[in-house]
Symmetry: C2
Subunit: 187 residues, 2 copies
Amino acid sequence: MNHKVSQRFEVLISGAGGQGIILAGVIIAEAGIAQKLQVVQTASYGPESRGGASRSEVILASSPIDYPAVTEPDFVAAFTQEAADKHAGRARSGGVVLLDSTWVEEMPPGLHGRVYSIPLTEEARKRFDKPIVANVIALGFFSEHNPLIGPDALLKALISRVPSHYREMNEHAFSLGRELAQVDVTV
Amino acid sequence: MNHKVSQRFEVLISGAGGQGIILAGVIIAEAGIAQKLQVVQTASYGPESRGGASRSEVILASSPIDYPAVTEPDFVAAFTQEAADKHAGRARSGGVVLLDSTWVEEMPPGLHGRVYSIPLTEEARKRFDKPIVANVIALGFFSEHNPLIGPDALLKALISRVPSHYREMNEHAFSLGRELAQVDVTV
């Protein structure tokens, strides 16, 4: 007999405008669609004049999504201190929290997930001379920390979204994220 | 004295995969961002294998958005009978409901908005030989039926999203939508 268990996985990526937060959510959503999952993807933008808080939410599910809002995210990434303070504590128990320690210098309140504090932006700047690919490193990391979209599917969705002359750099950044996910850097 | 009233406008566009539902929501969101509004944009996808119900929600607001889900949409567009049956009745009293009568042949239940029944897909096919631009006609229509994003801003966001060789067709489709919004076709 084939007992299929319905799975639902909630993702919350938060930061500021210009950090590729929205695009990261779109890429996860597109990878999910390609995997024939049910997907709800939400992008929230504050006006740039206010500092531009930016947030992506993605719900991935193997059966129809009744409640389309993220409540207890299984995976939270935060790219600014403000985003970390606001969202990192929302991760469910046992969920994964990824903090870009280039910008998140103080541990946010209320943490109860597995916390990885990694200088994503600094790695992106140092290795690729492109701070913006911090989001791609995060995608590689994410691909190792969710049960529904594997690295190959996520990389494919990524590649279809980036200009071809940046393809190699994005592949490297994605691989770096996967490697960082293997290392035990839990704080 | 300058009394600014906080405004919030909820949009729900629903149909099937391949009808440009998601793109229409993204274009409204991008126009809203360019207008320095607060924007939450949500895209919901069902797997294609299940018929691919597709839904875009956009919340536009002049001040921070506390509750990021669409509850009583001010504007509902439905491009399939199924979408109309499910969502058209959710429009708030006094809201606008746009039905693509090419596909919505029976009036959906529970209507209490101002209802426009227009053969968007048939118009798109007849005039441009491209059924897909039904979504652009809808955007032109929308630009005349919301208080926060005018036609110029919406057209600009549209043009930045379409291939340049389709620019003229999209401009025409958008204009057609604006014209259809002027005609009293309320059912």
